[in-house]
C-alpha cells in the first residue's frame, strides 16, 4: 500500500503544475502587487497579505516560460518556503489532487536548466502530466538567478 499526497494544482502558460498542499497556506484572487524597482526579474513586487508583506514571484520568469497570452496572472498561491511566505502568481488554480507515489517519476532529461532544478518530478495522470514543484527552491534560486543576471 502506498501513501498518497495532496497537491494543489494550477495552470501556468498551458502547463499543469502541482505543489505539495502541506506547504500551501491559501489561494487569493486579485491581490494588488506593488512593483519593486531594481529587484530581481523573478520578483514581480510585493503584496499585502493581511498586514504581512509577501513577495510575489513571477512564475513565468521563474520557470523560464514564454508568455503567450497578454493576460496577467490573477491567482496567487501563498506558500511557506524556507520559513518565509511567498506568493506564486499563476494563471488559474485547479483542484486539489490526492496522488499515489506510483505515478511519480523524476523529471525528464529534456527540461530546461532553471526549471529542471525546480521540478521535483512528474505525476503521470491518465490524461496529462502534472509537474511537481519544489517549494524550497522557489525562494533560494531566485537569489541565485539574480546573481547570474548580475554576472552576465
Amino acid at each position: 500500500m502506498s501513501i498518497s499526497t495532496d497537491f494543489v494544482t494550477f495552470y501556468l502558460g498551458g502547463h499543469y503544475f502541482g505543489i505539495n498542499a502541506s506547504d500551501v497556506l491559501e489561494l487569493n484572487r486579485n491581490l494588488e502587487v506593488t512593483p519593486v524597482p531594481k529587484s530581481a526579474k523573478t520578483v514581480r513586487g510585493i503584496m499585502n497579505l493581511r498586514g504581512q508583506l509577501v513577495p510575489a514571484i513571477d512564475m513565468y520568469e521563474r520557470l523560464n516560460l514564454e508568455r503567450h497570452s497578454g493576460m496577467t496572472e490573477s491567482i496567487s498561491i501563498i506558500l511557506r518556503s524556507d520559513g518565509f511566505l511567498v506568493a506564486l502568481l499563476v494563471d488559474d488554480a485547479a483542484e486539489i489532487l490526492s496522488l499515489d507515489q506510483e505515478t511519480f517519476e523524476p523529471p525528464p532529461s529534456n527540461f530546461s536548466l532553471v526549471s529542471r532544478e525546480l521540478v521535483l518530478g512528474v505525476h503521470k495522470l491518465s490524461d496529462r502530466l502534472l509537474l511537481i514543484l519544489d517549494p524550497k527552491l522557489i525562494n533560494q534560486r531566485t537569489e541565485k538567478a539574480k546573481n547570474q543576471l548580475l554576472l552576465a
Binding site: P37, K38, F84
Partner: protein
Amino acid sequence: MNDDDILVEFIVEAREILDQLDLDFVQLEITPDDQKLVGNIFRAMHTLKGSSGFFAFKRLEKVSHAGESLLGKIRDGQLTLDTQKATILLSTLDCLRAIIEGIESTHTEPAGDDSGLVENLLALAAGKETNVPIQPTTPAEPQAEAISAPENTAPAVSPEPPTPPANASVVISADDSESTDQVWAPDPADIIKAQETAAPVKVSLELLDKLMNLVSEMVLARNRLLPFTTQFSDHDFSSAVRVVDLLTLELQERMMKTRMQPIAQVWTKFPRLMRDVSNQCGKQVSLIQEGSETELDRTLLDAIRDPLVHIIRNSIDHGIELPEERISRGKPVLGKVLLRASHENGMVVIEIADDGAGVDFDLVRQRAIEKNLIPLQQAQELTDMQLLEFIFLPGFSTKSQVTNLSGRGVGMDVVKTNISNIGGSIDINSKRGVGTNIRLKIPLTLAIMPALFVRCGSEPYAIPQNSVLEMVRLDLSEATTGLEDFYGTPVFRLRNQLVPILFLNHQLEVSQDLPAADAILNIAILQSSGIRFGLVVDEVLKMQEVVVKPLGPLLKDVKDFAGATILGNGRVALILDIDGIAIQSGMVAKIQSRPLNAESIQEKSSEEDVAMLSFELEGQSRLAIYLENVQRLEMISPKQVQRNGNRDVIQYGKEIMHLLYLNQYIEGANHRKTPSIEDEVIPVIVHYTNGIPVGLVVSQVHDIIHVSKNLHEANPPQKGLLGCVSLNDQVINVIDLQEILIMRNLQENSKEYPAVIDMDFS
C-alpha cells in the same frame, strides 16, 4: 503549568537576579558598609541556589552555594568586602550567567568544571575568618529590607509579599544553616507598597509583536470602513463606525505605549561594564546617568545596546587618562563618563560624554596617511571636524596595540551602521584635553515613523522624515542658473550653496527622462552620510505616519529601500533608504573627494571664524550682521506697524519695538523704498540694546554664514558698513550696527552728537 514553563520562569527570574546582583556588587564596592545591600545580595544568591536545587542543576547549586558562603561571612561582618572579593564574586556571577545561558539553550545544565572557583570562594570564606575579629551579627537590618530585594528582581512572579519563589522553599536543605535564620518579617508599610506595585504582568515579546501587528491591521480595516459612512446615510451605522474609529485610535495609542520601555533597562548593565573596563585599564572612572526614565521602543533598546557598550568602552579605554596623567593635567583623578538621554523633537537623544583626553587628532591624521586614505599634503589641511570623519571608516583605529577592549578597528563604523539601521544618526565632537561628546539621535519607535510621500512614475514612495531637511520647488525657466554641472554631478544653487541632485526616476531605473528646460522641479533636500543632496521627484504628496515592515530575504539585496509600508487603502508603498540611494549613486564618494562648498564642511571649525547672519536690502544684496547682535528673527505684517511720534513701532510681546529701516542708513542701498502695505510680511532682525528691542527692517534674510574674523576694512569708509568679508568668492558687507544706532539717535533728536552713548553691544 508544565515543567518547561517552570523552567522558563526560572531562567527569566535567574537573569533578573543576576542583573540586579551586577548592580548591587558595584554599588557595594562604593559603599562597602551598606549592610542592607549585603543582605540583598545574600538573599538573591540564596534564592538562586534554592531554585537550582529544585531543578537539580548541580553546578549552579555548587557555585551559588560557595558564593553564598562568602557572602554570608561578609553579611555577618566577619569579613569585609575588598576588591579581591568583589572580583571573585563578580566572576561567580559570570559563571552563573554562563550556566543559565547554557540551560536556556539546551534545557539541561551545561557541563563544566567550576572547582577552582568554588575552592577560591570557600578559601576566602574560610581562610580569613581568623584574621578578622568577629563582630556581633546584625540580623535585624538586612531583614527589614527583605521586601524590596525579591520585589525588584521578580516583580511579577509573586504578587503577594515576596518570599523566595515557591519552588525555592521546597529545596532549602539541611546543609543550609544560613537560611534558617532568615525570618521573613515584612514591614507593614512595605506590604502596602508591594501591593501597589503588584500590577505588572509578564507578557512574551512575541505576543506583544503579534498584538501590534493586529492593531495595525485593525487600523487599516477601520480606514476601509470609514468611506462607507458617507455612502450610506444611515445614522446608526455612522455612529457605530465612529465608535469603532475612536476605539481603534485609542487601541493603537495604548499598544504603542506597551512597547515603550525606559532606557534604564539597557543602562543597568553599564555600571558593571564600566567597573570591569576601568579596572582592566587601571583607570578610575565614575559613570553618571541622567534621564534613565526616557522611554524607547523595545526593539530600539535592543539595537542601541551594543553601540552604547562600544562607545562606553572607547570612552574609558581611549578617552579617560590614567590617574597620574590626570593629576599632572590638573584634572580630578576620578574620570567622568556621562550618559544622558532625553527627548528632543520627537527623537531620543543619547549623549555619551567623557572628560578625558579627547580624540588624538594628530594620531588620526597620521593613521589616515599611513593607511593611504588621504595624500600627505591634504591631510595637513584637514580640520579636526574632518578628521573625526575618519573614525567612522571600517578598520580605522588609533590604538597601535590591540587589546581585548579595543583597537581592532571594528568599532565606530559598526556603531554608525547599527545606529543608521534604526533610522538614527551619530554626531561626535571632541576637544583635545577636554573630552569627547558623542550624540546619538534615535527615533522614538521603529514601528511607526513620520514619512514624506512622494510620487515617482506611477508609484508613491515614502522618505523617512528624519532625513528630509526641506522641500524646494525649482522653476528651471525662472532660475537664473538652473541646473549646473560640477564634475559630472548635476547641482543647483540653494541660498548660495551648491547642492548636488539625484533624479529618483533614474536611481530607481523607472525611467531615464530628463526634465525639460522649463520644467518645475520638486526637490526634496535630504541629509545622508554627512552630505546634503536634493532628490528630484515627480510630485510631493503628503506627510504621513507609516508602519515600517521589512521587505524580507528575497528583496534584501535591493539597497534602495529600507522597507515598505501598507497604505490606508491596503496598497503597499516602498520606503526609500536615503543612505542606500546616496551611496549607490556614487555621489557620496564623488562629493567627499571634491567638496562642493568648502566652507560648509568647516562650519563649526576653527576659532578664527565668526558667525554672521546674511541678509539683503533693496540695492544691496549681500550684507551681514554679527550673529551675536541678533536675538530673534521675526516676520511682521505691515498692519502691525504703528506711528509713534516720528518713529515706527510695533507691539512686540509686552514691549514696544522700534523699527529701524536699515536701507536708510547704508550706503548703496535703495533709500526710497520703505515697506508698504502691499508687502505681505516684513522680515525684521530683532536686536536688544539696553534691554529694549530694536527691529532692523530688511528685505530678505538669508542664512547663517561662518566667515573669517578678519574683516577687510572698507576703504574709503562707507556709511553704515564696518567692512567686508569674502565668502565663496563673493564680497559680503558687514554692517556697523553701532554707527547705525548712533545715526538714528542723531537723526531723530537732531541734536548734537551725544557725548556718551550708553549702548550695550555685547
